[in-house]
């Protein structure tokens, strides 16, 4: 689905923000990109979306070279949810907002199709179509932005820190929605996220970046358990991984509170007996 081959990107020919990236993401994967600020995460997802083009190397999405693909063609394939929904929202009603993206990609003539799809999304997210986006809360605006991103049914969904500024409930709602999309529609998800708990709960694979380079690529659980790697990338693993890791032995394999507490309870019983 997404294939990066020795991708390098430098800003105005000066600083290399990402260097020699190579990875391959299959259809239907849920991938998180981890690393501290300035590691090159956002640049990488922008390269996948074609908002930036590699200075050298090649980025292929669905077999198409992003550097040679037209904007509207690419927008059919890849949806991008930004950290700040207010940069995306530009229409005065929620209905118009969703239709706007559809028109840009499908063309203005497809009125019926656009109408139908807009209604579908309004129902799906239980929005009122005539609501003004800017009178909604940040979490709701993020959902409006998500709805209009998903409207064109992109095969790849990119999320750049989708949970910033959201409370726990809003964050869960957005992430659960994305999970179901990934599971039922097979949408490929690539997510930049600072909240390691969210990464552990939702992503299955992680790319770790530092200083513009790819440090590691593997299943989320394995990545989080690699203490040396976490240290090198200045990351702190999720709490349960820290706890199970420190307990060591048989417990080291547990990665959620439920499993770990079960294991400990059983061990405690054995000890008493």
């Amino acid at each position: 689905m997404i294939r990066a081959e020795h991708v390098t990107y430098s800003y105005r020919g000066n600083v290399q923000t990402v260097r020699d990236l190579s990875f391959h993401i299959q259809k239907g994967e849920f991938v998180a990109i981890l690393g501290e600020n300035g590691a090159g995460k956002t640049t990488t997802v922008k390269l996948i979306d074609g908002l930036l083009c590699p200075t050298s190397g090649q980025m292929l999405v669905n077999g198409l070279d992003t550097a040679k693909t037209r904007v509207s063609e690419r927008a059919k394939q890849v949806g991008f949810l930004f950290q700040n929904p207010d940069r995306q929202i530009c229409q005065s009603t929620v209905r118009e907002e969703i239709a706007f993206g559809l028109r840009a990609v499908w063309g203005k003539k497809e009125t019926d199709k656009i109408e139908e799809r807009t209604d579908e999304l309004l129902r799906l997210f239980s929005f009122r179509g005539d609501e003004e986006p800017f009178s909604l809360s940040r979490g709701q605006r993020q959902q409006v932005a998500l709805a209009s991103t998903l409207a064109v049914k992109p095969a790849v969904l990119i999320l750049d820190e989708p949970t910033t500024g959201l409370d726990y409930r809003e964050c869960t709602r957005i992430m659960e929605f994305i999970r179901s999309l990934n599971e039922t529609e097979g949408t490929t998800v690539v997510m930049v996220c600072h909240d390691m708990e969210v990464v552990l709960d939702y992503a299955r694979r992680a790319l770790v970046m530092a200083g513009g380079q790819l440090l590691a690529d593997g299943p989320v659980h394995e990545i989080f358990r690699d203490a040396a790697l976490m240290e090198k990338a200045s990351l702190l693993p999720p709490q349960i991984i820290q706890i199970s890791g420190q307990l060591g032995g048989e417990f080291a394999s547990a990665d959620d509170a439920e499993t770990l507490s079960d294991m400990i309870a059983r061990a405690a019983e054995r000890r008493q007996a």
Binding site: T164, P238, Q239, I240, Q246, F251
Partner: protein, 279 residues
Amino acid sequence: MIELQALTFRYAGADRDALHDITLTIPDGAFLGIIGPAGAGKSTLAHCLSGVIPHAVRGDFYGAVRVDGLDTADSRLTDLSCIVGTVFQDVDSQIISSVVEDELLYGLENFGVPREEIEERLTFALEQTGIAPLRHRAIASLSGGQRQKVAIASLIALRPKILVLDEPTGELDPSSSRQIFSLLRRLNRETGMTVIVVEQKIMLLCEFAERLIVLSDGRIERDGTVREVLGDIAGLEAIGVNCPRSARFSSLLSEKTGRPVPVCVNADEAVEAARRLIG
């Protein structure tokens, strides 16, 4: 010390109270965290503490807020801001100058700090926040975490007794967020400054704050030490507040073993609790 007495505030044109009947005392030297779901009134409360409400925001204000004995409604905002320093949610919009040094000078100049004292205060604020090397840098060239530190330094230079921060780590990555909180802790411990911070990241609050207030729908739902508040995980989730996994783990552990397990606010405590059970 801050005292809130039956404080109710409703924004002009709103159809419900943003804060409703809040009574609260915050002693000197406290490190207080405020958490709650979106729209709970966290920022409104922060603005009431610093006097921005009722001075710069329109709405109906009932009850009283007293900061060091001064009634905020009767005092001038500038008099209050010598006691309470405020860091607003959007750091970029509160920065006034283009160079770090000027940003720190701004408040000092306005409050008429004597010239011979200015340099000393500048150095103090820069050193406390660890940004002395950035003194002559253009603010536009700094990272988000550094800008946040500049904003904090510009307030510390004024030597307020109380610092109120509204989601200071909102846009920062985990390691910069921790740096900001470590800085707040140092200020709190070394200078005795009262720190009040509105924050969405529960894990940071658990690690750094001493007291936690949970707001929901304009009301105080919980108020106590971090450990006390985390004792009721189900209740917090019903309000819409997340818990650290360590606390969830300790509660599950006590449920499954049928033995009392203390609330664990961080990973180390959880490891210790588990070891005690399995020997």
